[in-house]
Amino acid sequence: MIQEPVIEVADLSVIRNQQVVLDSITFQVRKGDFFAIIGPNGAGKTTLIRAILGLVPCDTGEVLLFGSPARPDTRARIGYVPQTHVFDFSFPITVHEMVLTGRMGRKNGFIRRYTHEDHTAANYALSRISAESLGGRPVRELSGGERQRALIARALAGNPDILILDEPTVYVDTPTEEHFYELLSSLSKEITIVMITHDIGVVSRHVNRVACLNRRLYMHESDQVTPEMISRTYGCPVDIITHGDVPHRVLERHGDHS
């Protein structure tokens, strides 16, 4: 059964300083998807996410969230996990307080004080990523992997229907990364996940749909990534992609086509 679309991007273009950053992007994310968007640095991946979140105006086309243009109430149903390096982690804030800020989107007005329910939700979000023990720690003492998980907990605190992750594993070492994908995989049973990454080697076998982005978006309506898709996206053949039923699939090697 094909699930209803939760994110619909239709003919989306974004132009910045006379540069086309995104060129007529069209795709849908359906309920229950674990959707990966892969592409090299500078492909417009973060801009695409920012356009979906309504932080960047669309020059053409539109983005629908849950069937309607982005509104405060639909945006509150998205949990956003930005790249960790954009943060000032020396900020004096505990993990629990940071996760609490994920509840802000569910409130209205100027004065948004936290209720008992918010604190419960924050604790539950931490427990979903097995990080209850982190709650009282200041964020500046966290390791890279712990920071990443804390940011996911913040996104989960709002009890979202979609989780959007921007380059979640860039600053994480390999064993942590493995653990991290297991975590995402178990979360994906309950929640739609959209993840962008520049590293196609990390597209795990848990992902069920993949799109390649390099200013344009190349989409397969299955979990298959063809060598052609990779070549078009990266401008060269790429070594390995791992996803689908086959855990690791070897494509063509670099240099074979030189």
Partner: protein, 277 residues
């Protein structure tokens, strides 16, 4: 030293210092973590325009500074939202422009302006009794506003982008923050003067930050540190007959450098231990 407490002006100075410390602790910590030190510097120097205007119009210069800085804060807010100008350029313009306007006003003011110097460098021992009530009201107002808005202001400072996605009224909150800074600056001018205001705002916060796990804790610690600095500064300036504003600031700088050195040594030890393990 104790006999100083017998003088009303001295008790007023101590009280003003303690109340100003509450403002320093709260607003200073927020300015520090939100990287708005240059904004605070710009607003405080622009306040000189209000002082000059006060002299020219024959009203209380501090009242002039109060309304003038509120205007400047609103103007900075409006321009930052619309003009897309680089914030440093904008701040620089208001910083120097405000001072230039103040000097112009003073040159047009007939007669002699005796306490101009104390507005520039501060003299808490000259704080007027009628200003004590004003400082108290402003301090209470700032504490109340900050308590009410603490969760949203914390969220805004930690991650402005996430605040925007969470549909926080970021524009309105930015205006609120700028106005709170403007009000604080007017109070602190009486303690250390225009030129030293940024130091009083940032030093206690900078000392408190490495000791604090949360913004709330940082604000409490910065308040206490500021109380210690202002009180001991006032006593020292009385005993040695030296300017109170610069005494308070130099004490703050000394403590800050000691804390910096101290944390540097502690981190060095930790590293050594890790290396030997």
């Amino acid at each position: 030293m104790i006999e100083a407490l017998g003088f009303e002006f001295f008790r007023s100075a101590l009280l003003a210092g303690l109340m100003a410390s509450v403002i320093c602790g709260i607003i200073g910590s927020y300015v520090y973590v939100k990287h708005m030190i240059s904004v605070a510097g710009g607003i405080s120097h622009a306040a000189f325009g209000g002082i000059g205007l006060g002299y020219l119009l024959g009203i209380d210069p501090l009242a002039g500074a109060f309304w003038f800085t509120l205007g400047i804060a609103t103007l900075i807010w409006g321009l930052l939202e619309r003009a897309k100008e680089h914030i440093d350029t904008l701040i620089g313009a208001f910083w120097a422009g405000g001072m230039a306007f103040g000097i112009l006003c003073l040159s047009l003011t007939p007669g002699y302006t005796p306490d101009l110097f104390s507005y520039l460098f501060g003299n808490i021992l000259l704080v007027a009794p009628e200003h004590l009530m004003m400082i108290a009201l402003l301090a209470v107002g700032i504490v109340l506003l900050f308590c009410i808005f603490y969760p949203v202001l914390q969220a805004l400072a930690f991650d402005p982008e996430y605040a925007a996605i969470s549909n926080l009224p970021t524009r309105g909150l930015h205006l609120l923050v700028l106005i709170l800074i403007a009000i604080s600056v007017v109070v602190l001018i009486q303690v250390v003067g225009i030129i030293l205001v940024i130091a009083l705002l940032t030093l206690p916060a900078a000392i408190a930050r490495p000791l604090s796990r949360s913004l709330k804790g940082m604000m409490v610690r910065a308040t206490i540190i500021s109380m210690i600095l202002t009180t001991s500064g006032i006593f020292l300036s009385w005993i040695f007959d030296i300017p109170s504003g610069s005494t308070i600031i130099l004490l703050g700088v000394a403590v800050y450098l000691m804390v910096l050195g101290g944390t540097g040594i502690v981190q060095g030890f930790k590293k050594d231990r890790q290396n030997t393990e």
